[in-house]
Subunit: 368 residues, 2 copies
DNA sequence: ATGAAAGCGCTAACAT
DNA sequence: ATGTTAGCGCTTTCAT
C-alpha cells in the first residue's frame, strides 16, 4: 500500500473498440464485464482477472493469450468503481483549487495532471471559490471517494493557524490520512502533526530578493497590495518584500488589502490612487493577477505604468509577459509545484525537490 | 435513468467529522461503513441505506433519527465507488481538454465544475495535449469509469470529418453513448448519428462580424494566423473573418498556420514579418492566445502593435484586456459554454441555450 | 498454474 | 414500514 498502481493494467494495450461484439446490443446494452471475458475465453474469473491486471505472471501463455483475445474482441474495459470497491482504494487524486480559471491554479493543475497521467491515476477537481464552508462540504464529500490523495491548493490550509483554534476541516483532513489517504497542502500547514505534506514555495525569499532589486533600481517608496492578514502566502510575500526593500533603503508605506482576484487588485489600486500616489512610487501586488488588476486601475486613472507608477507582482503567469510594459515579477515554477504535489502523494519516501524562484525584471519597473 | 442524481444524499447535512469514534482506530483504521452505522443504530442495512440516501421517505421518524445520529457519530461517508458499482452508474463527468493551463480551457472547465457542483457530481479532468493518440488512450481508460458523461473540448472531435474516414475514437465514443453515457463535444461533430451532443459557438458569425468591423475601421489587408487546415474552430474563424472582411472591401492576403499555442502565434507572426508586413496591415489571430503570441513577435521585431501593425483575436480571455494596446477580439462566454456542456449531459431534454458572441474593439485596432 | 468462492460496501428487489 | 437477501463487477484468499 502507499505506492500508487495503474488504474488498469491494460491501459496501453492497443485494443480495438470497433470490434464486432461491441456493436451487438443496441439500446441500453451493457459494457462487457470480466465475466463475459472469462466465459468467452473459457477460463475462470480469477484467471481472467490475473491476466488483465499486472499481478505477478502466473498464467500460462496460451491462457493469457486466450484471455487477451477475448478482452480485445469484447472491447472490455475494467470497471474502475468495481475495482475500487474490491481493492478498497480508488485510483483518484482529488485536487482542490479556488478557481480553475485562474492561471495560478491552472498551472498547478496542469502539473498535477501531468503526474497523474504517468501513473494512470485520475484527477478530480473541485472548486472552493475560496469559501471555507464550501471547502468543508467538498472535503467531506471527497472523503467518500476514498482518494489516494488530496491536494489542497489555496484553501484555508494557507492560513496562519491560531494555536488551538480547532478548524473543522482539520478533523476531516486527519480522517483522510488516518484512512490511508495522503494529504498535500500548498503552503505550510501550521498544526500538522498528521501526515499532511506541504509544498512550500519560497514566497518570503523571492519577495525579499524582489524588494532588494527594486530598491537597487532606485525606488524608495512602495505600496503593497495583498490579501487579508492571516493569509500566509500573502503575508509572506508582503513581509518578505518589505524586508528586502527596507534593506535597500526603501520603505513600504502602506498596504491595501483584498483577496487574490484581479478585481481586488483593481479596487485596491483605485483606493490607493484616491488617497494620492506620488510619481516614482512602486506598487507591489502580492500576485501577478492582482498586479495586473492594479495596472488596469492605474491606466483607468489616467496614470502611466512604469516611469510614473511602477508595478511588480509575483508568480510570472503567462499574461505578465504580454502586458506593456511587461510586468516585473518573481517566477514560480507552478507547473513543477503541481507535479511535486503529485509526487508527494504517490511516493512513500518523498522530500520536496527545490522549487527555485527567480526575480524577473521587466519594463513595468524601469530604473529611476 | 438519464437524470443525474446527487452523489450523496447527505452531502449537505452538517456532520461533524470530529466525533469521538473517528479517533478510535489508529494506524490503518478503516472508514465507517453502512454496516457500522446500521449496527450502531440497531437497524437493518436497508433502513440505514434508505435514510442515508434520498429514496422517498418511508422510514419512521425515530428510526431515521437513530440512523442519522449513528452516521454522525461514526463520521460516516458513503463509499462512492461502492455506490457506483451497486447502482451501476457513477457520479462522474469526465472532461477532456487539451491543456488546462490554457485560459480558454480553464474558463470552460470552470463552467463545467460550476454545474457539476450543483448536482453533486464529480468532474475528472484529462489532458490530451492535442495528441490524438493520447486522446484515444484516455478515452479508453475513461470508459472504465463509466462516467455519466464525457465532455470533449478541443479534441479531434473538432475536425472536419472526411466522409467514411473511420476514426478509432468514433467507435469509442459510440460505445460510450451506447452504454448510457452522454457525449458532449465542443464544435459540431460531423458524422454524429450517435447520441453525441454538440456545443456550438458561433465562430463563423462572430469572426464575420469582426471582419466587417475591421474593414469599416479602414483596414484593407489582413494576415490570418490559424491552426492546421481541417481544424474546424480555426477554419470557421478564418473563413468567417475573410468573408466579413471581404464584404467590407478588405482582403485576407495570406494565412500562416500552426496550432493553438501561444508560441505558435509567435512563430507564425515571425514568419510573416520575415516575408514583410506593410504598415497598416491587420493581423487576425484565430484565438487570443495566438494573437497575444503574435503581438509579442511584432514587438520583438521592433514594430509597434496598433497604428503600425494592427492585431485582433478571438475569445476574449482575460489577458486580452490587460495587454497594451488592449486586444480587439470577439467575446465568447466560455464559462457559460462549459456550463451548457454540463447541462447537455444531465438534462434529458436539452437544447443549447444561445451563446452570444460579441465583437469588442480595443486599442490594438485603431481606426485608420 | 487454475478455479471456487468469499468478500468489498452498497442498492434494490422481494418478503414480511 | 422494516428486514432479508441477492446481486453490482471485481479481487483475492484458499483449495486443488
Amino acid at each position: 500500500m502507499g505506492t500508487a498502481q495503474p488504474v488498469d493494467g491494460n491501459y496501453a494495450r492497443g485494443m480495438t473498440p470497433e470490434s464486432p461484439s461491441l456493436h451487438a446490443g443496441s439500446g441500453g446494452a451493457h459494457a462487457a464485464t470480466l465475466q463475459d471475458v472469462a466465459r468467452e475465453a473459457g477460463v475462470s474469473l480469477a484467471t481472467a482477472s490475473r491476466v488483465l491486471n499486472g499481478s505477478a505472471r502466473k498464467v500460462a501463455e496460451d491462457f493469457r493469450e486466450r484471455v487477451e483475445r477475448a478482452a480485445d474482441s469484447l472491447g472490455y474495459t475494467p470497471n474502475v468503481s468495481a475495482q475500487a470497491t474490491a481493492r478498497g482504494r480508488s485510483p483518484v487524486i482529488a485536487l482542490l483549487v479556488a478557481d480553475i480559471a485562474d492561471p495560478y491554479f491552472g498551472q498547478i493543475a496542469a502539473g498535477v495532471a501531468r503526474g497523474a497521467d504517468e501513473r494512470g491515476l485520475v484527477v478530480t477537481i473541485s472548486i472552493t471559490e475560496r469559501d471555507p464552508e464550501r471547502e468543508n462540504r467538498i472535503l467531506r464529500a471527497l472523503r467518500g471517494q476514498r482518494p489516494q490523495g488530496l491536494i489542497l491548493a489555496a484553501s484555508r490550509a494557507d492560513r496562519t493557524g491560531e494555536a488551538g483554534a480547532a478548524d473543522p476541516a482539520d478533523a476531516e483532513l486527519e480522517a483522510f490520512s488516518r484512512y490511508g489517504g495522503r494529504v498535500v497542502a500548498f503552503g505550510e500547514r501550521p498544526g500538522d502533526g498528521s501526515g499532511t505534506r506541504a509544498i512550500t514555495i519560497d514566497n518570503a525569499g523571492g519577495a525579499e530578493e524582489l524588494g532588494r532589486r527594486m530598491a537597487a533600481l532606485g525606488y524608495r517608496s512602495a505600496i503593497g497590495i495583498g490579501a487579508a492578514e492571516g493569509v500566509r502566502t500573502s503575508d509572506d510575500r508582503l513581509n518578505g518584500f518589505a524586508r528586502g526593500f527596507a534593506a535597500g533603503g526603501g520603505e513600504m508605506s502602506r498596504i491595501h488589502r483584498g483577496d487574490f482576484r484581479r478585481e481586488s487588485g483593481t479596487a485596491a489600486m483605485a483606493a490607493a490612487l484616491a488617497e494620492g500616489v506620488e510619481p516614482g512610487t512602486l506598487v507591489f501586488g502580492m500576485s501577478d493577477v492582482v498586479a495586473l488588476g492594479a495596472m488596469s486601475a492605474i491606466r483607468a486613472a489616467g496614470r502611466a505604468v512604469g516611469a510614473d507608477i511602477a508595478v511588480c507582482g509575483f508568480d510570472d503567469v503567462s499574461a505578465s509577459g504580454d502586458v506593456t510594459p511587461a510586468l516585473t515579477t518573481v517566477r514560480v515554477p507552478l507547473n513543477d509545484a503541481g507535479y511535486q504535489a503529485f509526487r508527494a502523494i504517490v511516493d512513500d519516501d518523498w522530500t520536496q525537490a527545490p522549487l527555485p524562484v527567480e526575480v524577473i525584471v521587466r519594463g513595468s519597473t524601469p530604473g529611476l
